[in-house]
Subunit: 201 residues, 2 copies
């Protein structure tokens, strides 16, 4: 039996760190600012996390990874028609994703751009999530192919990587243009591309 009194505090810090990092990036995120609205202090933080890097890695795995798994991967994996589920997600992502994605971008992509070249630990964790995403999309394409929906000559691995890349690209561009309409228009083009992989009849 382990003590569980600490878990609420740990989660509070984790969530606050996630928000701060999402807003400012990891390096610009200040420990003091993270704690500011939590009612906790450095004593609590450094009890649960040995260093700022460890806190960042925990945010990646326990918040960002979990969120993406729940929002994107699970709906595809659990669908009976994964390819259709993928198309649905692309078409409706602006309603399904948290609203701050539009203004602050995708937390996964933000951290990848900032930290991957600087810290190998960050890089490997972030790449793990990215690989998971790409594999899920590839799996959806392969399932679609098996179900006779996707054209047999499609290179599912390459297409999956492109879909994820373009997806992140659309989020990033929309974040800068601060325009939901641009984002929707952009994702619509991606939707058309994915739909073009379907068998035309």
């Amino acid at each position: 039996m382990e003590t569980r009194q600490a878990e609420p505090s740990r989660n509070t810090i984790l969530q606050a760190a996630y928000c701060e990092i999402h807003r400012k990036g990891f390096q610009a995120a200040s420990i003091a600012d993270i704690l500011k609205d939590t009612g906790l202090t450095k004593g609590a933080l450094y009890h649960h996390f040995p260093t700022k890097q460890a806190l960042g890695l925990a945010v990646i795995e326990e918040v960002i990874g979990e969120n993406l798994a729940r929002l994107l991967f699970a709906p595809i994996r659990q669908s009976e028609k994964p390819f259709e589920a993928l198309l649905y997600l692309i078409a409706h992502i602006d309603e399904l994703a948290p609203p701050d994605f539009a203004t602050l971008g995708c937390p996964l992509n933000n951290l990848m751009q900032e930290m991957s070249p600087l810290d190998p630990e960050f890089k490997s964790r972030l790449n793990g999530i990215l690989r998971n995403w790409r594999d899920t999309v590839e799996w959806a394409l392969l399932q679609g192919k098996g179900q006779g929906e996707v054209r047999p000559e499609v290179d599912c691995a390459s297409a999956a990587l492109f879909i994820v890349s373009a997806w992140e690209g659309c989020i990033g561009i929309a974040k800068n243009m601060q325009s939901v309409d641009s984002f929707r228009s952009c994702m619509m083009q991606l939707h058309d591309y994915v739909a073009s992989l379907r068998i035309s009849k």
Copy 2:
């Protein structure tokens, strides 16, 4: 007649700042590190640039903007067949772009992701370059349409935005996966998408 003795120093600082910012991002770029290899000191820097922000904005306009104009916009604008020029650029960008783009990403996109939500000055300058890029691509598509190469029903504005978005997305993802093969594969998919806008005969 104004004194021109200062121009070499200014350019040295500008170039060093560009490299440092490309490697670490703007906020993490340290003034001291920028000067370290230049043989100059803070006195020189703060003589030519009133603040770190002004230095960053100068890097954006005078280095990043110029580089992109020379590498991407000019070849399309000056081509007699802009649509073909666009396709060529997408297919050969890995040979034409500076090699550190693969490991460090696109400087424009890096700064957009980091700074646009934080600083409206950065945002407007970066968006200016982005708009220039999108307009150039859109112009290439429109020219292609006029020359009977692009299908008439294509929405050139939306397609151009998507092309730029996907382009940046491919660079970003490749930067994290640190794989030139992935980047090429990804850009190849984008190439296929753009080629699919062509009239099929």
